[in-house]
Amino acid sequence: MTLSTLWVLAEPAGETFTSTSLELLSHARTLAADVAAITWGAGGSLAAVAGEYGATTLYDVGDLQGALPGVPVAAAIAALVAAGAPADILIPASYDGRDVAGRLSARLDRPVLTNVTGLSDDGGLVTEHPVFGGSLTVKAKFTAEGPGIFVIRAKSFPVDASGGAPANVVAAPAGDTGATGTARIETSHVEERSGPKLEDATVVVSGGRGLGEAGAYSMIEEIAKLLHGAAGASRAIVDAGWVPYSHQVGQTGKTVKPLVYVACGISGATQHMVGMKGSKNIVAINKDADAPIFQIADLGIVGDVHKVLPALIDALKARA
């Protein structure tokens, strides 16, 4: 263990931190002698959780008073770095995490490595990034003065509680962020969701262009519900406006690693494969026998989703 200190951005999510934050805290502990978490808002009261996953210090940026987190949290981290820099900073690849990373990179004039799915210590951190649909892995490192900024994808590391004592909470105010910090959250809207979150589900059923039209996506949702799973989508139908971005699985969307992934009418573009090829089992239904998705499917059905899916819905209903 050559690294002295790693800092991890720990995003608050109700009574705990987001699962990716916990994954990063768990992994950081295997790489560095000391781990500190950086949080804001409700996260400031999570000293016990931070300690449980291995952080000795919890830097609390405090109440953001409605500001989008990116600017104030990056400002607070920059101030902490000026007072004493860690070896590196690990940030979850999330909506707010990516904002923090971009802002911090420009503030510190340090590069950032994103889409990281593996991180090991070889006299300094070496990253892994899947490219070309996950067929190749690029390993990279920073060559200049630290701290390096790493943005890490969900599900890259297992969560492992250390059972540590509550972290020592240290206030880390953002200070004045001027014009950059003027983006304000006016209202928050929670969309109704039945069943598990896409990234936590043990079953993910996804639809793609092969569905033919937006209305056919309801079959995907129905099968997902019958299997107590979550409904996902390929980039093609998100781009087409059929389903919201939050459903997207792939390079530009979410990484999922369910017990089983059922790809319906998805050809298997490289951009999609990288987000789901870590699934334990893969079932593919597609009318094109040469679709790349079949190369990674444990069970491939060459057939029309408009015939197979209604039959599958009937079969699952009959068992319910």
Partner: protein
């Protein structure tokens, strides 16, 4: 209302991709406008239209001389295009890209900068926010909807649970997710008109950034490119009315049912 749209010309994602000898993405083939950027261009055209007019300027950076993707944006209706094109930009990282774009964008007054959430070749996804910081502006990322209200921008921003309504004063940087608007196809008239629209080509020296961008400015290096673990294909059946049964049997075998 003057709007800048950051766009990228990329190798066709549908074509096989490879690295060159320096482990940069091989960009020697024909480059196209990143489809992810067409949403920003369309959004800019709609917002300028609603505001009663103004310039939509597309700004880009690249190491080659290709401008077909920019012509495509002009054919959609953008007013003008600026590209920083220079061999020394090869190997630039996201922060260097942001530095180049910031220099270009700061040359002229603007109200709003739009960009995609990430490019479809490099997927770094930090350039727009780095750009906002360098320009000293607020940013709102992952927009599902964008409107101009009372001298500011109002955005429905994607969140894990749904979306937030977020506001910021102008000028600001906003990144748009795909699918937010339906990008128009360039009409024949648009394609003809694009040929005579201003397209400015700048060098790194024009911006005074020599030695700060490209591989020199990246401060990161690829130490290895290795084959990833592969998955083996399993059983494949042609559906003969029994496809659903086979799926059910498989789900039973892994105890999902």
């Amino acid at each position: 209302m003057n709007i800048v749209v950051c766009v990228k010309q990329i190798p066709d994602p549908a074509a096989p991709q490879s690295f060159d000898s320096s482990n940069n993405l091989n960009r020697s083939g024909k480059l196209i406008l990143d489809e992810a950027d067409t949403y920003g261009v369309e959004m800019a055209l709609q917002l300028a239209d609603k505001a009663g007019g103004g310039d939509v300027t597309v700004v880009s950076m690249g190491s080659g001389a290709d401008v077909a993707g920019l012509r495509n944006a002009l054919a959609m209706g953008a007013t003008k295009a600026v590209i920083v094109s220079d061999d020394s930009l090869r190997g630039s990282d996201a922060l260097s890209t942001a530095k180049v774009l910031a220099k270009v964008i700061a040359r002229e007054p603007f109200d709003l900068v739009l960009a995609a959430t990430e490019s479809s070749d490099g997927y770094t996804g930090t350039t727009p926010v780095q750009l906002a910081e360098l320009l000293g502006l607020p940013s709102i990322t992952f927009a599902k909807a964008v409107s101009i209200e009372g001298g500011g921008v109002k955005v429905s921003r994607q969140t894990e649970e749904g979306y937030d309504e977020v506001t910021a004063p102008l000028p600001a940087v906003v990144t748009v997710t795909a699918g937010v608007v339906e990008p128009r196809y360039a009409s024949f008239k648009g394609i003809m008109a694009a040929k005579s629209k201003p397209l400015e080509v700048l060098s790194v020296a024009d911006l005074g950034l020599e030695g700060h961008v490209g591989a020199v400015g990246a401060r990161e290096e690829i130490v290895a490119v290795v084959a990833a673990e592969t998955r083996q294909a399993g059983e494949k059946y042609v559906d003969e009315g029994d496809g659903a049964e086979k799926v059910v049997a498989f789900l039973e075998s892994i105890k999902v049912l």
